[in-house]
Symmetry: C2
Subunit: 453 residues, 2 copies
């Protein structure tokens, strides 16, 4: 192949720039909208947290031309810092989407770069969605090309591979040709970084923020003729050689590009706590909604679970919100009372909530040999003596049972209305679902900001 | 040691914050001034080049609050983008200082972070010089702690270790305590990056630009309470483990901190071309200046040289400025005519200059067995039949023969006056020499900008 003779980076760039927005499978555009709705809700909600406040105050202090908006705030600033802040907000709660084969989070590094570029250039909604789809595809494929060596070495793949995705997405919006896309991938990719030592600190969510802003910058510079290396991925002193010395796969990077789409392997997270109790919450919410249960209707909950649940999340006494995240009893009780498992269900106030506390004290779990990790048997014992039961075959959010659009809307609305008026959240949701028909992203981003329109 | 029990990053941070500006050896402050003068001249001159124009146009487009200045331009912007642009300009011509044990360039990543922080906070001149000295010390020691494994692996150490230096320097200006300095090193150090694949492209000088801006950002965030990991250097998933898997030395990082200063191993570059012809240029300029030689006085130049000169730089015919950089004949002729070897001596116009061309055609070189790499025997044959001769024991810019303050001033003036009026260049030089007595850096940075005061 001629393209590959010039190196894998040039071949990748060729695929990215050649794809036609109108030619993308409809389901990829729908999935792109779903990831957008997901991170919009998360980012709006994340503005309530202290480190988010420090970062957005920093962005305000830097200042900038009002080219792009910071989600959930009234900040309009330069594209670079808008992408930085949005990438940070999208990942801060660890509640964003996950590419299951690589545990890369594609939206947090890629969407902010694409949105800022689209706001500045006036790109239409369809091209914006396609740019995200191609950026996410690039991030996932770069991650797959170094899996598992790169992550095992200690890199946080959302920061590293995510940066290539941000370049690709922003470069699409800027209409780079293959040569300039190649240079942009090099100018950005040299700063692919973020180590796992940051997990558990305020700094972790800077990884996608850095990826989004630095990737966007590279695309903007290359659009003006700025040059980088010819082969950042395959070069002798490039990404594969240095950041994945254990191995790499060119086939994983390039094979079937445009035919297979990694957005199909990208999961949305239904609950803000550890994954092992997700099947419990799924089953409890199912019974709650089917039977319109109120807290007072419920006497106890008994669960048949996989052994990991008792190993990792057996915490009957919960004094703080954070402890609740590690208690299957709290997760089940909050799911029954609130019908959800967002960060709002893991506050100190919720830990002390009388309804949740009473039911939490009546939650029991027993290991059932036949129950798999993504399964649970849920029995709700009612005050009137009846017992309701359901078996969760595959928890919501797994590949076999992706979140429905309705469940995603509920998650979005729960999160967005922590900050925005209900009406604004509804209009923002509507704008996202209809983005493919929008002349540009201005209306969307206005609704995503604290000014609201 | 208690400090080391908490990890090497915490110990390093303790040293950085404990040093007293007034207690630093006087020669380190003088050396700090010299590095400042050196990069100010280089950065001013670098604004003339195309990629510098692309980058500064990008900074203009981002916009920002006028907290800090971009050297050689009229741009005032946020601290982050000012540091980015200044780091880029300082390194673009490959003419900045070099820490000889590690080939790290300390000034380009560290000075821009320190200057932007000082401009914003109003730090006085002495504290600013001390902050640079401690930032440069940090950069050099982080580089030494991973030498040679890290560079051999393919990292561009000016981008990676340089970022730690930028954090340290900016963190000093912001008065971080040891705990916050530790967090700042972690929040910044996670993005330590830059691979050698970028050498020879516009992107290479982004490495110190990225280091300066991202390091400064980390210090600014930590000053507001933003947290990072406790041990970015020594942690299980930290810098040493991931970016220097081949080995590392805690002793090289911490041993004798505050007693030995790496600024003593930091060289300034006298000529903009490859190092092997530096002794030739040194000798030619020495004879030219001692005897006030004019081009018309000179009939020929004959040289006794190390074999590498003929191997790497034997190019009697020179048609372009770039070819001149790889021609000892051109280097010698331009040194005789102009008394210098800056980029201004390697333009297409200089390649075609009648005086330089005539003398270049009369330059010959022969290997002398006894001549070392940093030596040269230089004979200038005059039109009146006399021959002047000198032997260069150690070329200027080597540890045994550092550039004198007078030679540095000449280099600065040559470079700065490519863009600035002579009077402004002289006043800027004066402000830099007197920085330790300045109440703040405002006057210096005004003179360093295109507005000039």
């Amino acid at each position: 192949m001629a393209a590959q003779a010039a190196g894998p980076t040039r071949a990748l760039a060729g695929f990215i720039v050649a794809a036609s927005a109108a030619g993308l499978p409809g389901w990829t555009l729908h999935e792109a909208k779903r990831t957008l709705i997901n991170i919009l809700g998360i980012a709006v909600s994340a503005t309530r947290y202290e480190p988010a406040g420090i970062l957005t105050a920093w962005v305000r202090r830097q200042g900038g031309n009002p080219a792009a908006r910071v989600i959930g705030t009234d900040i309009r600033t330069g594209t670079f810092n808008a992408a930085l802040a949005n990438g940070y907000l999208a990942h801060l709660e660890d509640y964003d989407d996950t590419h299951l084969p690589t545990i890369l989070h594609p939206s947090a590094p890629v969407w902010p770069a694409v949105l800022a570029a689209a706001e500045e250039t006036g790109a239409n909604g369809l091209d914006t969605l396609a740019a995200f789809a191609l950026g996410a595809e690039t991030a996932c494929r770069v991650a797959m090309s170094v899996y598992p060596w790169h992550y095992d070495q200690g890199w946080h793949v959302t920061g590293t591979a995510g940066l290539f995705g941000a370049v690709a997405g922003a470069g699409r919006v800027h209409g780079l040709d293959a040569a300039r896309m190649t240079h942009a991938l090099g100018v950005g990719g040299t700063h692919a970084s973020g180590v796992r030592e940051l997990l558990g600190t305020h700094g972790k969510a800077l990884h996608p923020g850095h990826a989004a802003s630095t990737g966007l910058q590279a695309a903007e510079l290359a659009a003006q003729g700025f040059t980088g290396p010819d082969d950042i991925l395959g070069g002798r002193r490039g990404f594969w050689a240095i950041l994945s010395a254990g191995g790499h796969s060119e086939e994983a990077l390039l094979g079937g590009f445009g035919e297979r789409w990694e957005l199909g392997n990208n999961g949305l997270k239904p609950f803000a706590n550890g994954i092992v109790s997700h099947p419990i919450q799924d089953g409890v919410i199912r019974l709650r909604n089917e039977h319109a249960l109120k807290p007072g209707d419920v006497a106890a909950i008994s669960l048949g679970v996989h052994p990991l649940v008792l190993e990792l999340m057996n915490r009957p006494v919960v004094r703080t919100g954070l402890e609740g995240k590690f208690s299957f009893q709290h997760c089940a009780a909050a799911a029954l009372v609130d019908g959800a498992g967002h960060d709002a269900q893991f506050t100190d106030a919720k830990a002390a909530d009388p309804d949740i506390s009473r039911i939490r004290d009546a939650v029991t779990g027993e290991v059932e040999e036949s129950v798999a990790e993504d399964q649970a048997r849920v029995r709700v014992h009612l005050a009137d003596g009846r017992t309701l039961e359901t078996f969760v075959e595959h928890a919501i959010g797994t590949p076999q049972n992706p979140m429905s659009d309705a469940a995603l809307e509920a998650k979005f609305t729960d999160l967005a209305t922590e900050v925005f008026p209900t009406d604004q959240a509804a209009r923002l949701l509507d704008a996202a679902w209809n983005l493919d028909r929008a002349p540009d992203v201005t209306a969307l981003m206005r609704l995503a900001s604290a000014q609201g329109g």
